[in-house]
């Protein structure tokens, strides 16, 4: 089983409310770029934080990029007291974001997403419009480097509408999602 599937399954089975963002969202939408971690934006409502902490417990989340002996436990209190977490787990690297630059919290991010079927799981995935908005706002060199391709991909979607790929269910059609409300006029 690949690590993206493993983590998505853990989150979906626990009914955690989240949106797939970042490089995995971009890949799912058609961007041919390599990424090593799964980024999600999670709902910071209390019940969801509890579900998230409980779901991730069995995959042993640890803070990434710090000395190993620092004590850390990703429980509800830790998530409530923090916002964004860069983690490594038994199934690979996972970034939890309470807010996405240029968009906002989970509720706003959700409106820039639509459901895709990923490995048989229905997942909310950030739209191309959402990716463009967040990357423009982040303004980092690595984000700006991917913008031309994402914008081209979005334009292709408008002109040819092939983004959903072959043999997809209606829920795989990103154009059917709420992100259409946020179409930008360039």
């Amino acid at each position: 089983m690949n690590s993206f599937l493993a983590i998505l399954r853990v989150l979906c089975e626990a009914q955690v409310r989240f949106v797939v963002i970042g490089g995995v969202a971009a890949s799912a939408r058609g961007l041919p770029h390599l990424t090593y971690d799964l980024d999600i934006c999670y709902d910071r409502a209390r019940d969801n934080i509890q579900q998230l902490a409980a779901a991730l417990g069995p995959v042993h989340p640890r803070l990434r990029g710090i000395v190993n002996h620092l004590p850390f436990c990703l429980d509800s209190a830790a998530i409530s007291n923090g916002m964004n977490f860069t983690l490594t787990t038994d199934w690979g690297d996972l970034d939890l974001l309470g807010e996405v630059t240029g968009i906002g919290g989970y509720k706003e991010v959700k409106t820039f997403s639509s459901n895709l079927t990923l490995f048989g799981l229905e997942c909310a995935v950030l739209s191309l419009d959402g990716l463009i908005q967040s990357k423009r706002a982040a303004g980092r060199a690595k984000d700006l480097l991917t913008l031309p391709e994402i914008e081209a991909l979005r334009e292709i979607g408008i002109r040819v509408k092939p983004e959903s790929g072959p043999a997809q269910t209606p829920s795989d059609d990103p154009d059917s999602g709420k992100h259409a409300e946020h179409e930008e006029s360039d």
Binding site: L116, A152, P166
Partner: protein, 70 residues
Amino acid sequence: MDRAQRDELIRLIASPPPGSKIAAAKEFGADLTLLVSMLELTPTERLKRLADAREFVRELQAAVRNSTHE
């Protein structure tokens, strides 16, 4: 994506409308044929390809590490 859409897409990236985002990406140096390949896949297939590429890079890095230790 059906065959007609694929053909339309290939024509579009070969000769993008001047001033379009597609033209800008091409000028930027993006390999737009890779977009076509990705768009022919389902989202799950795209992530499988990503996972495969990631695994390949990891194996490659491990091989390089091992070869330098020999």
